[in-house]
């Protein structure tokens, strides 16, 4: 029996920039990008669920994010997570990887004993691949990154095949260990209809607060209790719940600061268009030979 905690993140869909999200000045309108479950984190969750199916244990999924991240926590339940936590507080906003890993590691310490921490190798918005190793450092546990396959788990050790530059290696790590996975590691399972039906009503604290807004007959506390009873409450952990050092969270706790952001604008260049004919191409080749580009 092994317990896993999976680190997941909701990210803007940066891979699918269509005309709809482009602004007139040629830049991306980030606010218009749909929010999705970071793919490599889904792969990590899939691996955690596979470990549970093979060896028994529980799967916890956690995320540090704004209230709307409860969307992906629901998806974690659809995929087989047993318990999910949304770690959310205004004071966490603007966090770089150091501040994020601080908050995540403290939340993990609060959640309890674990054998595995799984996470995707990197998120498609920051693209840093840093949160995994930095979380492992703060928990003082070993890490295995670029994991491609969990070969087996035996007597408190896990054997993992991982990608390295120029090949692969097989390592054996003592538990507990933090593992970051690459997309080749697994195909995330489709959500089971049964679990979708069971959990689509799952709500976080913010979701419930919205329900009680302006409705004097509903009380948040009562609702929380009801949802908890039905296993439909997405637990939310705030700064107070975790008793964090405010100087280590959010922008304050982030040594890296953004000084400037420039959008990449597609601008016209001064290119020569060549006719797709024998003559056109012939002249091009002549030119390239004259310039000693082709010999």
């Amino acid at each position: 029996m092994y317990n896993s905690i999976v680190l997941v993140k909701q990210v803007p869909d940066t891979a699918n920039i269509s005309g709809k999200v482009m602004k007139e000045d040629g830049t991306v309108n980030r606010a218009k990008l749909p929010a999705i479950f970071n793919h490599e984190d889904k792969v990590a969750l899939e691996l955690a669920v596979q470990v549970k199916e093979r060896y028994g244990g529980k799967v916890f999924a956690i995320t540090m994010g704004p209230p709307r991240a409860s969307d992906i926590m629901r998806e974690c339940l659809y995929m087989g997570a047993d318990e999910v936590y949304l770690i959310s507080d205004r004071k966490f906003a603007g966090a770089d990887t150091l501040a994020t890993s601080y908050v995540l590691s403290e939340a993990i310490k609060k959640i309890g004993k674990y054998d595995f921490i799984f996470g995707g190798r990197q998120a498609i918005d920051g693209d840093t691949a840093q949160v995994g190793p930095q979380t492992a450092d703060k928990l003082d546990i070993p890490q295995v990154t670029y994991a491609e396959q969990i070969i087996d788990v035996k007597k408190n050790h896990v054997t993992i095949k991982r990608k390295i530059d120029g090949g692969h290696e097989v390592v054996r790590a003592k538990l507990p260990v933090l593992v970051t996975v690459i997309k080749e590691a697994a195909e995330p399972r489709p959500y089971s209809a049964k679990r979708v039906m069971a959990y689509k009503g799952a709500k976080s604290l913010t979701d419930l607060e919205k329900l009680t807004e302006g409705n004097s007959l509903l009380y948040t506390d009562t609702l929380i209790h009801e949802y908890q009873e039905r296993n439909l409450f997405i637990s939310t952990l705030t700064m107070d719940d975790l008793q964090l050092d405010v100087d280590r969270c959010g922008v304050k706790g982030s040594p890296t600061k953004v000084h400037k952001v420039e959008s990449v604008v597609l601008a016209g260049g001064n290119q020569t268009m060549v006719e797709p004919t024998k003559t056109g191409i012939g002249s091009l080749i002549n030119q390239l030979m004259e310039d000693h580009i082709l010999g």
Binding site: G126, P133, G167, E169, V171, A173, K174, T256, M273, L284
Partner: protein, 339 residues
């Protein structure tokens, strides 16, 4: 912050006793940064029997090499390597520490940054020292860490104004390799290493290496095919053209994902960065991630049936048409001119 150091350090990566190119590229960049700070450029070399690698660093501009050798350090493992760097950085607080953005670099650098509570910027495409104003405060001679983000749709300039140690990782091929005509004097400081039980928490059972037979970086002419070619059968046009021109074959990420060409031939942000004399992009739309890997080619020819493809924005010559039609014409015209 009191008494900031002026030292620039570069972690010299080695695999199986072979130094990684990216580390020497970073030394070349590092020496320019060190010059601006008026301080030394130090290479940190960790491994087993790697004194020769330490000696090589002076050809690329190191003024001192810190050498840590032990049989337990032969193959990279996170625990001992990060422990060594954590100790050295805590002790000396170098102003700048650079790592290659390789699998090893991405496994090692974040752990060290977390332990030393430093800021770390990954995949920098540019590094510059400048004096700027941030939130009304002057930051003298700080490192501007420039990188794409948001899937490559924005370029961000990151700074770490409040921490004494500034760390960054850079991918291979981004910085230029420029050995010195007169290498610096060899100046190696060997440091001791004692293994600890925590080192053994992750053991390497075995390693498999695939020799990379392709050297795209050295090819003067590259013919690259993209997803626009449609089928692996059409991709043979790329091979044919490359053969006739004496060029290397490459592909975009989409072409690799579709199985038209192997990953070692991928050009782009997550592949190889190339600067050939001539780059011919066929059926490649020219997404930012691809452009990042080839936009500094001396001459770029783009062939695409979509006249709005972004690749035309950076090409010197553009041909709108179907590759199946254009490539044979190109080959014929070339063979004809050679006669």
């Amino acid at each position: 912050m009191q008494n900031l150091s002026n030292e620039v350090w570069v972690f010299i990566e080695q695999r199986n006793g072979k130094p990684a190119d990216v580390s020497f590229e970073l030394l070349c960049k590092g020496r320019k940064l060190a010059e601006q700070l008026g301080g030394p450029l130090k290479a940190v070399v960790i491994g087993d029997n790697v004194k020769d690698i330490a000696e090589k660093t002076f050809v690329y501009g190191a003024t001192e090499a810190l050498l840590i050798q032990h049989k337990d350090l032969k193959h990279y493992r996170n625990a001992p390597y990060s422990r060594i760097l954590n100790g050295l950085i805590s002790q000396h607080s170098p102003r700048i520490v650079l790592f290659g953005a390789t699998v090893i670099g991405r496994d090692l650098a974040p752990r060290v940054a977390s332990n030393t509570k430093s800021g770390l910027t990954a995949d920098c495409t540019e590094l510059r020292i400048d004096t700027i104003t941030y939130l009304g405060k002057e930051c003298k001679d700080i490192l501007l860490q420039i990188r794409p983000a948001f899937g490559g749709n924005i370029i961000a300039t990151i700074i770490t104004p409040d921490n004494p140690v500034q760390m960054a990782t850079v991918r291979e091929g981004v910085m230029e390799l420029s050995p010195l005509d007169n290498a610096n004097k060899v100046n190696i400081t060997e440091l001791p290493f004692t293994p600890e039980p925590a080192d053994a928490l992750v053991e390497i059972i075995e390693q498999f290496h695939q020799e990379n037979k392709v050297n795209l970086k050295a090819a003067p002419i590259i013919v690259a095919g993209g997803y626009g070619l449609g089928t692996i059968d059409n991709f043979r046009l790329i091979h044919e053209l490359a053969h006739v021109l004496g060029a290397e074959v490459a592909g975009s990420r989409a072409a690799v994902d579709a199985g038209f060409v192997p990953h070692e031939r991928q050009v782009g942000q997550t592949g190889v960065t190339v600067r050939p004399k001539l780059y011919i992009a066929v059926g490649i739309s020219g997404a930012i991630q691809h452009r990042a890997g080839m936009q500094e080619a001396n001459k770029i020819i783009a062939i695409n049936s979509d006249p709005d493809a972004p690749i035309f924005q950076i090409a010197h010559y553009g041909i709108v048409g179907d590759a199946v039609d254009i490539i044979p014409k190109f080959i014929d015209a070339y063979k004809h001119k050679l006669k």
